[in-house]
Symmetry: C2
Subunit: 357 residues, 2 copies
């Protein structure tokens, strides 16, 4: 399994690349993909990098019916000296296996997977854009392929990695967003699949997202599914609040996704001697701090945006304007340092980067 | 949209059919499938019945990543005079649209879909088995096909129907199963997707199912995700309890799937003047009735098994043996009458059947 042999079938028919300043998110895909099969007798085998092309799947494949699937998201960055580097891919592969466990999908070899990603990105390195803030988004995912309509874990799987050049999240510099607290829909609950990165959590979120978007909000802030009191996370980001000089983020509780960016933010804050606490926090408590003028900053953390300041939070008909709707000091510093590390402009004191070539 | 035009491409390469007594569930598929496309400009279009064959999908198709998909399950039965008939297909198409709404998938034309199913089953009518208790399982499903990694509803979809001849659920007559109450995992929660028939609910259930199976239980009994007190449903069945002569089933609360069989059971019981109540019921209450000798029967209801008596219920280390582990009187009567109606041996006083030909 861990013998590092990947067959390479070159794409002789490469696509035209979109201009670096015309990229959005997840719309364009590169010339190659990685794919590996799983069968009960052979385990994971037949690793190959081949032309990006459609999957051919039986209509009864379990993934279509029972959603037995997991995924990851990370990025490759191009530095000024044209190094291409990944940010903490070990964390993503660790989380992928954590998700696999919840979804009854066989474990992958994490080191081998990182190596496969490196080889794939190297082959498609010309697709890593160079305009400021752009990057190559990497989407590893595993799907269940057995054609069987019984509700049971699949016998067979495919582990696939596709690549997508993505634009700068903030076209005009880091900019606060408006977020609405979700009171009706629930994304995940303890005992469910919230801490796994799996399709169903996102399917469940579409309707809430659609509703708040129509009211002018960028994303929803999810509350816990049990009491609808405790703050969990934002759409596809974890969330942080600065209250009286202390940075607070909801503790991992089984229904929150453990973000790689979240973990990196905590490490950085600690290294800066800024107090940071992982604990339960209710919307009511947050509101009380806000009323007393103690809510100094709010921001999300995630691979796509890195840091996303929250300028306005809507809750039960009330609009909480945070830091006058401007980017806070800590959010700005985290954004600058994290992107600085990712693009090789800053030191990498934690050894977070993995060079592709 | 509702002009009833379905292109037919005949499969010239038909498969050999498995023997009627060697069928299990969801393993064999017939010679043809129905498929229809959705695009924002054309709506649902290009309805066709064509040879059963693999789907060809971009690896970035939304269904693989965010699970935007819904499905249904119903059956076609062969009667003694070789009529082929569907059981309440209108209910399934109504529920499909209900699921569509929750998953931000465009509504389908229910009547047209029933017609498509009838045409497909008629074409593959030789696949409807005739051994006692066998039937043709019909699986309509909709998948999101747009290649896009943003978390948003897909622009494009495919509505597909596949058919699978299935064996008798009870090879040796109706037989009670052992069920374990699930205390750790949660299938669905109010505000989530529990009342929709969508992949994520089933993905979430795999791990719990695997655990109880290893302890000798057929399925899990799900409790509510909030308080883990209230009884919801069993794996892929709704659940009923007979207590002191009254039949009780958990009321629809937003996280329980509204079963077609559940609805049919309630109608039948009412027509027989047997008291039937839809209400909240906790495991504690059920246990109290059990202790007092008042729990007379327990059974599940679903398309696959029709009625599945529960002979043993495991809860917090305790084993509740119900009706001495035998099939109860009401479960037996419901099973006989429902299957009698489905196979055309009994009158159909509620007009539940739709003839295929
Ligand atoms: C639900 C959810 N929470 C949090 C995150 C942030 O995780 P990470 O920092 O690893 O990107 C993501 C996305 O990646 C997510 O989908
Ligand atoms: C979760 C769940 N509950 C209940 C049912 C029973 O519904 P129906 O009677 O329509 O088959 C099913 C299966 O069909 C199911 O998947």
């Amino acid at each position: 399994m861990s013998e590092n042999k990947i067959t390479y079938i070159k794409n002789e028919n490469v696509k035209e690349k979109p201009a670096s300043d015309q990229l959005s998110f997840g719309k364009y895909f590169t010339d190659h993909m990685f794919i590996q099969d799983y069968t009960p007798d052979k385990g994971w085998h037949n690793a190959r990098i081949k032309p990006y092309e459609p999957l051919i799947l039986d209509p009864a494949a379990i993934v279509f019916h029972y959603g037995q699937t997991v995924f990851e998201g990370l990025k490759a960055y191009r530095t000024e000296d044209n190094t291409i580097q990944l940010f903490r891919p070990d964390k993503n592969m660790e989380r992928l296996n954590h998700s696999n466990d919840r979804l009854c999908i066989p474990q992958i070899d994490e080191e081998f997977a990182i190596d496969a990603i490196k080889q794939l990105v190297e082959i498609d390195q010309d697709w890593v854009p160079n305009a400021p803030g752009t990057s190559l988004y990497i989407r590893p995912f595993i799907i269940s392929t057995e054609p069987y309509l019984g509700v049971a874990p699949s016998a067979n799987y495919q582990f696939i990695v596709i690549l997508s050049p993505v634009g700068a999240y903030y076209a005009e510099g880091i900019n606060p967003v408006k977020i609405a607290v979700e009171n009706q829909f629930v994304r995940a609950v303890k005992g469910g699949t919230g801490e796994a990165k799996t399709a169903g959590n996102y399917a469940s979120s579409l309707k809430a997202q659609e509703q708040v978007a129509s009211e002018g909000y960028a994303q929803v802030l999810w509350l816990d599914g049990v009491e609808k009191k405790y703050i969990e996370e934002v759409g596809s980001m974890n969330v942080f609040f600065k209250v009286n000089g202390e940075v607070i983020t909801p503790e991992l509780n089984g229904s929150i996704l453990e973000g790689v960016t979240r973990n990196s933010v905590i490490e950085l804050l600690k290294s800066w001697d800024i107090p940071v606490t992982e604990r339960k926090i209710t919307m009511q408590e947050l509101n009380d701090h806000y009323e007393k003028g103690e809510l100094e900053e709010a921001f999300g953390s995630g691979t796509a945006a890195v840091i996303s300041p929250v300028g306005e939070l809507a809750w039960e008909g009330k609009k909480m304007v945070i830091n006058n709707g401007d980017t806070g000091e800590i959010a700005k510093r985290l954004y600058d340092v994290l992107t600085g590390i990712q693009y090789g402009k800053e030191n990498d004191p934690f050894d977070w980067l993995v060079k592709v070539k």
